[in-house]
């Protein structure tokens, strides 16, 4: 411990004494003169007091003063996070830098404006909500079924009770939109004469196609299969994603002007080189087609299948040859769970799922494995495969060993295993441990580079490949991932293509999407959450019944449910008070009273009363405010001639810009609550 040599040493005892006798008398007399000297020198120093108000200019932004509202429900509408495709990143970035990016939008890989969606749905403007979401997520209905919704984990409502069901709101918006789709969809004008070809009709390709079409390009899309949708069509089981949803949304896109050519395999039916000649830019969104199979002894035996092949057969043929047989899935990801649940539906008698990770670390989403276990899947965690056992080239079982740890200290994949092995009897082994791209026929006749591991050489940042004018996006670039991630890469690639075709630099002035870090929420004790604050509950089909067929497991929201759910949105960072009452709930003096009405079309904060006679200036309310609408003013010394003036009503709280009692200036009245909109065509 470094000891400061210059510091004053603490005396042995603080009770020092004067010397006795004359010496002490002189010490005393001297002390009086010292005192006079100190006061005399003090009178020459700078005073510590300041003149008010001339010198008190340093107003701290942390001051806790009286409170004001920046905006309120029904008075101020929020800014929808909406922009042309190529300017979207800059908009998000600006919001992020100003701390105005809501957690849901920030945490979404594609930055879908979930806050705006909730705002519009709660207001009854559902088609607008759908179109707002479609700006960034071309398949709201699809993602509304299958998205792993990182937005809901980031939702600030987690702090108080339960997150908004953003995914189900997507789904609800889609279902409502279907009713009006025909009249709302108009072909996008083709304002530019350049042509873009997109190879693959998966989520990333579709996202890029929509962006490019809305920028005025002519887009042609090639698909190998008979049905468009890529992995969504071939891989995702229909109990999760009914095919009419997927094809319906793609049909919308076609109606918007997409030239979709199915059953056209590039490299066989049409050569990539000729597509490159005919178009100004080509986007490869081919995805991953091959299942990886571990190089273990015995994998050549009959009954060892890859996950994609299995899923394709189960989805398209309705029979994967496992009826009445036992099945073991190797892998713990989402695909593995899909395989396991499909296997049950196509008649497997016993489905096991084994993975290296423990049940806490499984890479699939917890709700998925939960549903799968409900349906009868047996999860075997922390198990590593050793060898496929076979008899007469027919799989009979799998030898497994316990996995002790999956990752090493640095977080790299480096599993360690125990000694004792265990044999598991099974008839079919499905490997769901990852996928790889199949590019050989595609790239033949072009200069596209493929790495030694069979991967396309791509600059991950802007999607450029080794050939100018050819771009790539989706899982072929990122590796296996979520659908919304693919959508996000599609948007990036579209931006690159647009810049290239406009002749601009691909990187200059381009803003990378920020990855904001959101607060981690503690689990909320639901015992203390009132019923009307809880999130909408949707029913899941009975596990025993649903495991037998491919009907959708989850039901959607009703209109009432959806609007109530959307009304729960806190509109984070919008600086508009939504009347969420969390300031009133956290006020230690019970000085705040908040009420609102949720009448569609006339949602309004009806009451906001702050009783300053009770306020203790603790600042907890403003800290709790999710939207930032409740803010401190610099006024912490308020005085009035009448104590009634100490109660600030809603008008007073909102009047800060013109000057109010809260900000120390008396102001003008302001409009408080709008009349309900009852115009033709709009619901009251």
């Amino acid at each position: 411990m470094a000891v400061d040599e210059n510091r004053l040493p603490v005396p042995e005892t603080v009770s020092d004494e004067y010397a006795p006798g004359v010496k002490g008398f002189m010490q005393g007399a001297r002390s009086l003169l010292t005192g006079l000297g100190i006061t005399a020198s003090a009178s020459t120093r700078k005073p510590i007091t300041v003149r008010y108000p001339q010198e008190k200019v340093t107003v701290s932004d942390r001051w806790r003063g009286a409170l004001q509202l920046k905006g309120a429900l029904g008075r101020d509408e929020i800014d929808l996070v909406s922009a042309p495709p190529h300017e979207y990143n800059a908009k998000i970035d600006g919001l992020y830098r100003n701390d105005r990016l809501s957690p849901c939008t920030g945490s979404c890989p594609a930055n879908v404006d979930a806050r705006g969606q909730a705002f519009l749905i709660a207001d009854g403007r559902i088609p607008e909500a759908y179109e707002l979401v479609r700006e960034r997520n071309i398949l709201p209905g699809v993602l509304g079924r299958i998205c792993h919704h990182p937005c809901e984990s980031a939702c600030r409502r987690n702090r108080y009770d339960e997150p908004i069901s953003i995914r189900l709101l997507h789904r609800f918006a889609y279902e409502e939109y279907r009713k009006v789709a025909a009249e709302r969809i108009k072909p996008l004008p083709k304002t530019r004469d350049q042509r873009v070809a997109i190879i693959g009709s998966g989520p990333s390709g579709l996202a890029a196609a929509y962006d490019l079409m809305s920028l005025g390009y002519t887009v042609t899309m090639y698909e190998r299969e008979a049905q468009p949708g890529g992995a969504l069509s071939t891989g995702v089981p229909s109990y999760r994603l009914p095919r009419d949803v997927l094809y319906g949304e793609i049909a919308d896109l076609v109606a918007l002007g997409l030239d979709l050519r199915c059953e056209t395999e590039v490299g066989k039916d049409v050569m990539l080189s000729s597509i490159m000649r005919e178009n100004d830019a080509v986007l490869l969104a081919v995805g991953l087609q091959d299942s990886r199979i571990l190089p273990l002894p015995g994998t050549h035996a009959d009954g060892v299948v890859g996950a994609l092949e299995f899923l394709w057969a189960a989805n398209n043929l309705g029979d994967a040859g496992v009826k009445g047989r036992r099945l073991l899935v190797i892998g713990g990801g989402n695909v593995a769970v899909d395989v396991a649940r499909c296997a049950l539906r196509v008649g497997a008698t016993e489905v096991r799922l084994s993975c290296l990770e423990s049940d806490q670390e499984m890479p699939c989403h917890p709700w998925e494995i939960e549903e799968a276990v409900d349906e009868g899947v047996i999860a075997m965690c922390s198990m590593g495969p050793v060898e496929v056992l076979s008899e007469d080239n027919q799989v009979t079982g799998m030898r497994m060993k316990p996995c002790l740890s999956v990752f090493d200290e640095t977080g790299r994949f480096s599993p360690t295993y125990g000694e004792d092995t265990q044999d598991i009897e099974t008839d079919v082994v499905v490997f769901a441990i990852g996928q790889a791209a199949r590019l050989d026929s595609l790239v033949s006749g072009t200069d596209l580079l493929v790495s030694g591991r069979g991967q396309l050489v791509v600059d991950g940042a802007d999607g450029t490949t080794s050939v100018p004018g050819v771009f790539a996006c989706g899982e072929v670039v990122t590796g296996p991932g979520s659908a919304i991630n693919s959508v996000a890469t599609g948007h990036e690639a579209a931006t690159s293509i647009h810049r290239q075709l406009e002749g601009r630099s691909l990187t200059e002035g381009r803003i990378a999407r920020p990855v904001p870090v959101y607060e981690k929420y503690a689990p909320v004790d639901m015992e203390y959450v009132e019923p009307d604050r809880r999130r909408a509950v949707v029913t899941l089909a009975d596990p025993d019944e649903r495991a037998t067929d491919f009907r959708p497991v989850e039901s959607g929201l009703t209109k009432e449910q959806a609007m109530a759910e959307a009304a729960r949105c806190l509109r984070c960072e919008s600086e508009v008070c939504v009347g969420c009452t969390f300031c009133a709930r956290t006020c230690p003096d019970f000085a705040i009273k908040v009420e609102r009405t949720d009448q569609p079309g006339a949602r309004c904060l009806t009451t906001y009363e702050l009783d300053l006679t009770k306020c203790c200036f603790c600042g907890l309310c403003a800290e709790q405010c999710p939207t930032g609408a409740l803010q401190h003013t610099g006024q912490y010394e308020l005085s009035f001639y009448h104590r009634d003036l100490m109660t600030f009503d809603k008008g007073e709280m909102l009047r800060s810009d013109q000057g109010s009692r809260a900000t120390g200036l008396d102001g003008i009245t302001s409009p408080v609550c709008p009349a309900p909109r009852t115009g033709p065509g709009e619901r009251p």
Partner: protein
């Protein structure tokens, strides 16, 4: 005729003291503020100099509160009984050659004796307030003022011995410069005991605000309280001017009319020193105060008087 003249002089003395008190309060507020790292009055007038002028009407128009339990006649007039003797004492101070407002033959005796009457006023106010804290303050004040009368008178006496007269004007005529060193110890005793006599810090035990709130005038408000304050400042002015005249040569320091200026200036410096001490030193306790008076100040004053007597006899 002489009665009229007396009235006129009385009014003039009151005006001088009131004006002096206004300036004195402002000055004390500025001095104490600077000592205490503050700014003092700022808002009214240049450097807040009109603050006190504004305070006077405020004090005049404040409600004249008389506690229900108070002994009303005494409570009403006790402030005057405190103030009047102090105002009277100013009359005998010699301002210029051969001139004092009231050129009394036994003027020095007058100056020492008359202000002591104010102790009666203090006792009146203390008793009439019917308040335990006031009563304690009044008794403390009486004991203190009577005690400090002794060293104060003895120290002034040493100058009078050198001059051989009780008439202040005559003392000034006889003044020689070497009296300053010869009576310097007496001057210190005079200064200290004067502070005690006017109940100012560090001897403000009767009104000790930390224990007795304000002592004998705790229950006073408005103009009556202002009269007490005028008494305090009047006493300070009188003691400073008299000390400047007797011990420091007064108007004899400079020739002619400049002498009057010098006299007032020295008095102001003495006043500032009194303020300086008040804002520097802690307050003594009652028993320490008495011990200090009787075992230190009084013997020193006697020694000074003896020395002055020896010098006077030797001349």
């Amino acid at each position: 005729m002489s009665f009229l003249w007396g009235m006129l002089w009385g009014v003039a003395a009151v005006m001088v003291i009131a004006g002096g008190a206004i300036v004195g309060v402002w000055w004390e507020r500025k001095v104490s503020a600077r000592i205490q790292l503050r700014l003092g009055p700022q808002q009214i007038g240049p450097a807040g100099s009109l603050q006190m002028v504004a305070d006077v009407p405020k004090l005049l128009f404040k409600e004249d509160i008389i506690p229900a339990a108070a002994d009303e006649p005494f409570f009403r007039y006790a402030p005057l009984a405190v103030f009047a003797p102090i105002a009277m004492s100013v009359a005998v101070i010699p301002f210029a050659t051969g001139w004092a407002p009231f050129d009394a033959t036994a003027g020095a005796l007058f100056f020492l004796a008359v202000p002591s009457i104010s102790v009666l006023g203090i006792l009146f106010s203390a008793w009439a307030s019917h308040n335990t804290l006031s009563a304690i303050g009044g008794v403390r004040a009486a004991a203190q003022m009577v005690s400090y009368e002794v060293p104060r008178s003895l120290s002034v006496l040493s100058v009078l011995v050198l001059a051989g007269t009780l008439r202040p004007v005559a003392v000034m005529d006889a003044w020689e410069w070497w009296w300053i060193p010869a009576t310097f110890v007496g001057f210190i005793v005079y200064l200290i005991s004067s502070i005690a006599e006017m109940n100012r810090g560090p001897f403000d035990i009767p009104e000790a605000e930390s224990e007795l709130v304000a002592g004998y005038f705790a229950d006073y408000a408005g103009i009556r309280w202002a009269v007490f304050m005028m008494g305090e400042y009047g006493g300070m002015i009188a003691a400073s001017l008299f000390g400047a005249a007797m011990f420091l040569g007064g108007f004899r320091l400079l020739p002619g009319a400049w002498g009057v200026v010098a006299f007032i200036a020295v008095g102001a410096v003495l006043m500032t020193i009194i303020m300086w001490m008040k804002w520097t030193f802690p307050r003594l306790r009652q028993d320490q105060l008495m011990t200090f008076c009787w075992t230190i100040l009084t013997p020193i004053a006697i020694v000074q008087l003896f020395a002055a007597g020896v010098i006077a006899a030797w001349l």
